[in-house]
């Protein structure tokens, strides 16, 4: 364990603050919840000192100092309320606003713009500008997912440092000198890295905008819910922004144990699947050779009786199951209970794999593969997929309960079609009905992470809360509710799917989750071991 850093005592506006020696003074003041305006400083980037807005008066120094580039040491006496400081801030704000376009009504940043906020609080109420504002290029297409507006840029160079230090792709830079300086991409380059949309988050103004959120919703209409990204096993902490029961964007939420303040572009666009028009919205049951829409209780009854009939004919071993890495820990636990009640031994989990890198992106493209393994639902290096498929081919397994779409991506399509075609019973729980699953007897629509409460476990075994951001339609059964309803049907009982009760059961069963208290998870989650 690293040695605890030495604490230094500093005095800010007469208040004594303790902070680790050597950290930026600005950070120490922000941690003490002081309201210090700043643009270029970002806790996860190096210090640039280009905005000059965080100036403070320090006793013993002849001029005002920028607090981001002053290190905390014992005995600093700082004043942030001095008239000299207020004058300096007003001067900096005036220069920043001198050529800033009056774009606020059409700027996507309006409402969460640092320039707006700080000029309201620290700037001047009137403009003394006489000359027309400088014209620059607007709406420059600088990447597949990004737009640049040079007029709005205040040259804090956060994005430049991001591309140098975090994504290490070096696409952005500032060109020319003095008041002709502009932010641009290097010749022949495009801002197309896997983390390009993070530059829009850290941009304090609306200079860098994502094409995805461009002219969509004003930010003050958005409601934010803390959740976890469903894109890969890394489990990046996110805010889901919703308006009118629809998701409009995902933004990273700071969690130094997982994703710091970043997230990848692919993860950011996963929300589109929630409102996908192709998505299955109603359960289907096979009748006269086609799949017909039915109501939820009828589908539950059909699935339960079909599974019961199969086992009566061929014994308990004839039913196999494929767990989904997209379900929450609680739902996976319910699925495990259902399988135990049915006596299902042939179990597997299919996970779609893709590209990975050293920063955040993980190969497993699902949020909760680790959670399913920790619950003991599946075993083996490939999570039992090959074993289950061979059991199907041998004719030992005659019926399958498939959760999740990932099976299609994890197994060779032709082989899968042959196996699924030869089954006597196929029950699937998917987001969209692909051709491969058309031979199913019962099809349940599955629920997205953004539509339910619970927890997921990331690749490193960190259990994190997810919260419902959008409501599914009335009468909809979430995955956990489907499993509970099936179990109710099989055992003639009346139980409801409730997350806190599942956690009580997880404790009593002595699972890997027994050490964790659901109520104490908080915003940042807790590690399993």
């Amino acid at each position: 364990m690293a040695e605890a850093p030495k604490l230094a005592k500093i005095t800010v506006d007469g208040r004594v603050i303790e902070a680790p020696a050597g950290i930026p003074l600005l950070q120490a003041m922000l941690d003490a919840e002081l309201d210090i305006p700043h643009y270029c400083y970002h806790p996860k980037l190096t210090i640039d000192g280009s905005c000059r807005l965080c100036q403070v008066k320090i006793e013993g120094m002849p001029k005002l100092q920028i607090s981001c580039n002053t290190q905390v040491r014992d005995g600093l006496v700082v004043s942030t309320q001095d008239p000299e400081v207020a004058l300096a801030r007003r001067g900096v704000m005036e220069l920043l606003l001198l050529n800033h376009p009056l774009d606020c009504p059409i700027c996507d940043k309006a409402g969460e713009c640092w320039l707006q906020n700080f000029s309201m609080r620290f700037g001047s109420k009137i403009s003394r500008g006489l000359e027309p504002r400088r014209k620059r290029q607007k709406r420059i297409d600088i990447g597949e997912r990004m737009l640049l507006d040079q007029e709005r840029c205040i040259l804090c160079r956060r994005c430049v440092r991001f591309c140098r230090e975090v994504s290490k792709t070096y696409e952005l830079g500032t060109f020319r000198l003095g008041d002709r300086t502009v932010l641009d991409i290097y010749a022949g380059r495009r801002l197309d890295n896997d983390y390009s949309m993070c530059t829009a988050d850290i941009c304090p103004v609306g200079a860098l905008e994502t094409k995805d959120f461009h002219h969509k919703v004003r930010v003050w209409f958005l409601e934010e819910v803390g959740s976890v990204c469903s894109g890969c096993a890394n489990g990046c902490n996110i805010h889901i922004s919703t308006y009118k029961n629809r998701i409009w964007r995902l933004t990273p939420r700071r969690n130094d144990a997982v994703n710091e303040t970043w997230m990848c572009d692919a993860g950011r666009l996963t929300y589109k699947a929630v409102a996908d028009p192709q998505r299955l919205r109603i359960p289907l049951v096979a009748a006269n050779g086609t799949l017909a829409p039915v109501d939820w209780p009828a589908a539950i009854a059909a699935a339960a009786s079909a599974m019961g009939d199969l086992q009566k004919q061929h014994g308990a071993a004839a039913l196999g199951a494929i767990a989904s890495p997209h379900l929450s820990n609680e739902e996976s636990y319910c699925f495990g209970r259902l399988l135990a009640a049915l006596g299902v031994e042939h179990r597997a989990m299919a996970v779609r794999r893709g590209k990975a890198d050293d920063l955040l992106i993980k190969a497993e493209k699902a949020a909760n593969a680790r959670g399913v393994r920790e619950l003991g639902l599946v075993r083996g290096a490939d999570d039992g997929v090959e074993e289950l498929l061979q059991a199907c081919e041998r004719g030992v397994v005659r019926g399958l309960y498939v959760c999740g779409d990932d099976l299609l991506a994890a197994v060779d399509r032709e082989r899968l079609a042959r196996i699924l075609g030869g089954l006597e019973l196929l029950i699937v729980q998917v987001t969209t009905l692909e051709d491969a699953f058309k031979s199913a007897q019962v099809v349940f629509p599955t629920t997205m992470l953004a539509e339910k409460d619970g927890t997921v476990t990331n690749h490193a075994g960190r259990v994190q809360r997810i919260e419902q951001a959008v409501r599914p339609p009335d009468g909809w059964l979430t995955d956990g509710a489907i499993f509970t309803a099936l179990l109710n049907h099989l055992q003639s009982r009346e139980e409801k799917f409730a997350v806190p009760e599942i956690w009580r059961a997880l404790e009593q069963d002595g699972t890997a989750f027994a050490r964790i208290r659901f109520a104490e998870l908080g915003a940042y989650g807790a590690p399993l071991a």
């Binding site: 606020c104 009504p105 059409i106 607007k138 709406r139 461009h214 002219h215 004003r218 209409f221």
Partner: protein, 178 residues
């Protein structure tokens, strides 16, 4: 007598105020007097005090707040840039806007701009919030319709040429001059 009770000396009840029939007749008398007065003037072909709506209409002062409308510029397009300030300011949530992008100099316009006139209460907050002078309170007050759907006014119904709104726009500028 209980403590703290004061007997107020009231004037004696008058016969006229205690008799409701008389009060009714007194009220009717006013109406009849006006009626006869107008009738007489009408018969003589002289002055007529009644405005025969809808054949005749009064010219309302520019301060009048009728239904909110969108200002249409001379090129036929709306001034509105779909910033959503009116939607936010509206106390009855009767405005709903969906923005879209164009290649014009002003890159943003409302693809959908709906006002539910059955909910609008003519407070004029939308006009006050608008940074572009794009939504103003007109003198139009005839917003009755035969169905609820008819009360939903779309962008095309709401557009009014800027020339027709000149008096209101001048009035607004006078308001904010100081």
């Amino acid at each position: 007598m209980a403590i703290g009770v004061v007997t107020v000396k009231r004037p004696p009840e008058r016969w006229s105020s205690s008799q409701p029939y008389f009060a009714i007749l007194k009220g009717l008398g006013v109406s009849i007097r006006h009626f006869l007065h107008n009738l007489l003037l009408f018969a003589r072909g002289q002055q007529d005090f009644t405005v025969h709506f809808p054949e005749q209409r009064l010219v309302q002062p520019p301060a009048m707040r009728g239904m909110p409308v969108l200002v249409q510029m001379d090129n036929g397009k709306e001034r509105c840039v779909a910033c959503g300030m009116c939607e936010w300011a509206c106390p009855t949530n009767c405005i709903s806007i969906f923005p879209a992008e164009t290649n014009d100099e002003v890159e943003r316009y409302p693809e959908v701009f709906d006002i539910d006139m059955s909910r609008c209460m003519f407070c004029g907050f939308c006009e006050e919030a608008c940074p572009e002078e794009a939504i103003v309170m007109s003198r139009q007050i005839e917003i009755a319709s035969y169905s609820r759907r008819g009360s939903l006014w779309h962008k095309q119904d709401l557009l009014v040429p800027v020339a027709e709104l000149k008096t209101r726009l001048d009035h607004l500028r006078r308001q904010y001059e100081h």
